[in-house]
Structure formats: C-alpha cells, structure tokens
Subunit: 463 residues, 2 copies
Amino acid sequence: MEELHKLFTPGSVAVVGASEKVGTVGRAILENLITTFKGEILPVNYKYDRILGLKCYRSVRDLPKAPDLAVIAVPASSTPEVVRDLCSLGVKFSIVISAGFKETGPDGARLEDELVSAARSCGMRILGPNCLGVYDPWSGLDTIFNPNDRQAKPGAGGVAFLSQSGALGAAILDWLAEAGIGLSKFVSYGNAADIKEWELVEYLAEDPRTTVIALYVEGVEDGRKFMESVRKAVAGGKPVVILKGGRTESGVKAVASHTGSLAGRGEVFSSAVRQAGAVAVDSLGDLINVLKLFARGEIPRGRRVGIVTNGGGAGVLSVDAVESVGLSLAKLEASTVENLRRALPAAASANNPVDILGDAPPERYVTAIEAVAKDPNVDSVIVITLMQSPAFDPKRFAELVKELRSQLEKPVVLVAPGGSYTMNHSKELEKELAIPYYRTPEEAVRALKLAVEWYERYRSIKG
Amino acid sequence: MEELHKLFTPGSVAVVGASEKVGTVGRAILENLITTFKGEILPVNYKYDRILGLKCYRSVRDLPKAPDLAVIAVPASSTPEVVRDLCSLGVKFSIVISAGFKETGPDGARLEDELVSAARSCGMRILGPNCLGVYDPWSGLDTIFNPNDRQAKPGAGGVAFLSQSGALGAAILDWLAEAGIGLSKFVSYGNAADIKEWELVEYLAEDPRTTVIALYVEGVEDGRKFMESVRKAVAGGKPVVILKGGRTESGVKAVASHTGSLAGRGEVFSSAVRQAGAVAVDSLGDLINVLKLFARGEIPRGRRVGIVTNGGGAGVLSVDAVESVGLSLAKLEASTVENLRRALPAAASANNPVDILGDAPPERYVTAIEAVAKDPNVDSVIVITLMQSPAFDPKRFAELVKELRSQLEKPVVLVAPGGSYTMNHSKELEKELAIPYYRTPEEAVRALKLAVEWYERYRSIKG
C-alpha cells in the first residue's frame, strides 16, 4: 500500500478552483495550505493571475509540471474534464471535494462513474468525491474547508481517523482536538468512488506514524476486504475502533438516504468487526472516550481495576460501574492494604476502593496511587478527584503525579465530576500529565472495558 | 410535613463553632450566611466577642433567644452537650455538620445515639450528622463549607436534590450549576440519624417551590416508607430521579465501608423505585442529563422522536440511538413532508430525520423545527447543530428559535458534538433558550427515554 503515501505527503499540490473570495471552499483550502503546507502550492483558476500572493494558473493545462496531488473544488459537472487534463499532465492523486455525485441520485451516480473512468484511464487515484479530504498534521496537508475558528484540528500524534461523513467527521475531529488527542491523519473519504476505506486501513496498518485507527462508517462495499484490512492492523498491534452509522432498522434506512450506502444489519457488522479484532462502539461518547486511552497507549492488560478516591460516594459509583460492565474490582495484596493502613489516616479505607477522605492533599494521593498501581493484582487505576474540596491542590497534584507517573506501567485515568473549576483543572491535568480525564466514573469504566476487550482480542489474534 | 419548613426557611440561625480562621468549616459557613442569608445570624464560639463584624456569643447558653435553626460545626464529642443546651433554649432544628459518628465505627455509633437522644428529649429535629447540610437559594440558607471558587451553586429553581454523600452531592451540585439547572433545595443529610430521607421526600412532595426531586442514596432504612414518599411525590406530578450507590455485589460492600448503610440488592431496589413511579438511573451522566429535561419541564408525552440536522451522519447516529433505547422515529404526516420538500433545497431530506444540509442557515432550521414540532406524530424534537459549518450563526439561531420556542408545546433538545467553539456556543444557547443541550445524540436520547418512561409511570399511577 506504499502507493497511497504521496496522497498524504505530496511535495506539490495544485488547488483547482482556488479562490480569493472569502467564504468559498477554494479560498479556505488555499489558506490552509499556505499556513501549514511546506511544499509547493499551485492555485488554478481562470479568473486570476495571482491569489493570496501566489502565481495562479488559468487552467490545469497551464500548470508548469505535474503536481504530486490535485485538490479539486469546482462544480461537479466540470470534474471529469479537470481529471482528464490532470491525467494528461501525469498527476497521480486527486482529492475531489466537490459534491453532487452519487449522493444526489442517478444523474449524479452517472457523473461519478464518468469521473472514476477518467481517472482510471491514466491510473490516477481519487479520494472522494463529496468529502472534506485530508488533514495530515505531520505533512501539513489540510483540505478541510471549515473556518478555523469553529473547527479545531488536533496536533501531530498517533491516531488516524477515517470518516465516511464529512460533517460528522469534522465535528469528531474538533472534539479530538479539544480532548488533546494527537492525530496521524484525518481522512474524509466521502463517496469512496475510487479509494476505498479498506485500502486506507491497509495503508494505515503499515504507516509507522499511525498507532491507532478510528473509523466512522455507514457502509462498506466489500465487507471481506474491509475485515481483512482491520485484522491486519490489529495483528500489527494497532487498535481499530469503529463507530457504525446504521445499526438499527431505522438507522439503515437513514443511511440509504444519507450516503446511499447499503448499510447491512448492525449486529452482523459489529460481530464481524469484533471477530476481526476491532472495537465496535455504539456511541460518539464511547468513541472519544476509548480513543483517549488508545491515543496515549494506556491499554490495560487485564480486567482488575484499582480505585483511589477522595470521596466515598464516587468510589461506590465506580465500583458499581466496574462490576456492571464486566470488569472486576481488584483485590489488593494484604501487604498493600497493610502499607496503606499505616500511611493513611485512621478514618480512611485502605481496601479497594481506597478512600483517602475529603481532606486528602496531593501527597496522600501519591501514596495511595503508587501503592495501588504497583500492586500485582491491579491492571488499571481510576483516580477520583472531587476538586470541590479545598484540600485538593491541582498544581501540586500535577507536580507530584508527573514524577510518579513515569514509574508506573499501568493505565491511570482521572475521574473528576463537577462544574467549571473542576473541568478547567481536569483538562489542564489531562494535558500536563497526558492522563485521560473523564467527567464520570461510568465513562472511564466503559473506556477501560473497551480497551481491555481490544487487548484480549489482539492477544487471541496474535496467538 | 409542614414541620420541616423552618429547617429551610429559618428567620434566625446560630452557628455553633463559628470561626474567624480562614479555611475552617466554621468560617466558611458564617461567610456563606453573611453573603446570602437575609435573617439574623448568631455566631457562637467561646474564643470571640465579635466575628466578621457580628456579635459572637461565648456559648449556646449565652444566646439572647432561641434561633429557629442551629448549625453545629464543633468536634463530634461536644455535640450532645451543645444539643442539650440548645434544647434548654427551645431550639427546634439543628444541622450537625460534624463528622466522627456512626461512619467511624461502634464508638461513633454510640455518640450518634447520644446525640439523637439529646435532641429527642426536647423534640428537636436534627439533620445529619456528618453532612454538608442545606443550601436553599430561595431563603439564602447555605451551610456548604466548600470554597465558593471551587464549588458553584445553582440559582433558584425547581429541582430539589438530596444526597446521602456530602462530597459527591457537592460535586453534583457544582455540575448542576454549570448545567444551568435551577435548584429549590440541596440537602446533604449524611448519617440521617434523625431526619430520614423519606421525610425529606414527603416534605418536598408538598413544597410548592419543588417541581422535581433528585436523590443520591446508598441505603434507606425504611424501604416501605421511602417508596411511599416517592409515590406521593410522583402522584403529585413531580418527577423523582434516584441514583443508587451500591447496585452491584462489590458496590454493596463498598457502601458498607462508606456510609455503613445496608445497601440491599440493586435490582430489587431499582424495581421497587420504578414501581413507585420514579426514574432509577445507573450513572451520574444519566442523572444530570434527565434533570436537564425535568428542570425545564421538558417532558415528552410519547415516544415518537423528530430529528432536524445539518449533518446526515449525526442524523443517522441519532436514529440508531432512538431505536436502540426503545423510542421510535416519528413518521411525519405526508403534508409535513410535502411542506418541507417545498421549503428546503432539493438535496435536503424532508423525511425524518430531516437533513437540512451542511449549508443550513438559522432560517432553514426554524422552518424545519417548526414543521417537525407541529406534526401531530411527533412527541419531542432533537435539533442537531454541527457548528463547524460556517453557515450556522449561533446568535441569529438564538434570536429565531427563541421566538419560535414560545409557540411549541413539545420538548426540543439541542445536540452539538464538537470542541470549544461548539461547547461555548451550545452553553450560551442552553441558557438563552432554556433548551437542554447534549454533546452527543446518545445522551440526548437516553435522557428523553428516561423522561418519557417517567411520564408513562406517572400516567399509570395517576390513573
């Protein structure tokens, strides 16, 4: 799959339909590239000699050379001709942003066929049409045309995210950025007229920058190839997380009128996906929440959870959540309990869930987290911080836990229910400590459960 | 239950253990009262003549009169004596903030018995001990001693929230404030040595300011009385939402070491609660999410959901969520579909889920929301706004929907997945339009489902 490499890391990009007009797709993409792309940018529009300080070419035929990639944002009806011209030049990759193809009905489907034929005649590969294209924080390629003040984009990291839906993909991307999850690539592949999602997964399975693959899909054309690509990625140690739109009967119908995909039955798809070793999630929340773990490599090796809390009630809710989803409350070694009993105040609970009381300062947290995380019967640690308590000093906590964290080889997650003060400080801790933060015990526990299930499937596939 | 009234609306409050020392419970409570309480405040501490500008009394015996309420924040061992002195004065209500009773073991339990006997000997009622006490935004009574920069408190509204756990209760209170949910009363009742949760529920069932009752409980002493009080509240048209800590085997054990309550089996409790007409939730998230509906009286009268979205994928996920939880996708009247088809662009989908496309301006939202909300086959409306799209103008949307909303008699909720821009604007819309906002379709749908289930139970109890 080496061949898709230049799609993400072109040395030069032509923007066909580049524009100076504020609010247009052609302007937004050009601005993005000027801001972040290191290679050569070649705007194409018959109306201009120069755009935003760059020389503009009247037509594709006027380009001085074949760019590695063409981004096409012109009316759908013109795209086949543009592609034929690009073919003559010898261009190998195009991203067709334009909408108005298969998703609009039979006429659009015929146009899409024409577009694909034009590309295939010269061996050009096409991403799209009807898509947002690619955002690659490593290469600086960025064809997402939403305004940057509304649409945040994650920095460079290990998560590749593929989305059949452009708008939903953009919203998730925005959320991933806010959640501090680093990205290897975002691909909105739209109608997948040529490049299929399974090819992208195969490519990402080999891509050294990608450590996790997430997908929003409504339908896949070739189920067998898709599952094979997933299995390949998983066997290589990369978690794959799939959110499928169209899991219910009504959902399947909604998909038909959205992307025109044949959605197939939800359970069949989910069970095939799971058999291939992937995580099938049922909600946006679970998708983001489990990615918070995978992105940071925080993958529990087993189901036994240790809990440290400064509030008994929140500890109880966590225990309920752990048992409800099929994880188990770790039984601490007698020596751990004994050590904790000596180190903690008399009113504290030294058993799991370890309740270090409402007046717990950061130092007490460190004592408890270290003891629990180093216990051989614990696979992951949930740390609950009710920050309404004046004893909790977020800054000091950050300093102390940062030091401790480098010694711990097990996932540690933060749970902090509350309002603005708590949310702001939790997000800071999440960033500073690279520790996944959840607002509720239930969200944290579901994420841990999905992650450990992945690990178990990975082990069984790996053998 | 008229008799509990003065606990929440005293004309005068003595603070036994009032202090000048920053960081103490006695100082925090006194400061709260000075800031928000309209009645007379009588600090008691043998060390001071004046505190924070108020005359301070050396002992309870020195008080010039019997205050309507005494708030006691002195070491546990001194509380029986303080109560005996308050009794001599004729005080009718005390809130015992102090910890160190039943929750600490047999010695503490004996002390708690002594405290209760002292109160009962003179007919005094006691809230607590081991609690945060009361926050009543209507009367200004506020005994929550967390620092106000960490602990937000909701403004006046209709939700009463009772919590057995102080710390968790405080965190939830903080969250409710951030979610813009108005409160009638917050009660942290701690060990419930005298005043029981069922008495509080009975009182709130009659309280005209309370329209919704929410509880975090770990165990109730008298299940029959508790269920009766719940049924009374529900029969009076007040939704009751209960989050029970200790629903699983391990959770029950954790409860025993937290509050020492006999938790009982989760399913038995849940099913009794549901039979009494309440909503039993399993997670903090569901608790907050359904309160967002109940607090605003947004209660669907049926299970048929209409969806308006500017993104097809988010629409599909919503449909899946609706069908997954047992709600149903509303089948719009032919005339509604016809009207929408005429009003919307050709590429839009006029059927439910109504997809008004990524370039939908606020005007198009209003057209679609109005048509869907007025359709007789629709019981509630989910409005999805992917705000990454430049066409979505939050300010204009607020203006237009505000006008429309007053005409609509069905619940309308907002779903807006995304990052900071989206979250900030969604919260503003939530406030300005009094419209519940959810970050994911799945959360919105679960909340609607819990609310409609309550309504169905209420109808069947009401007959």
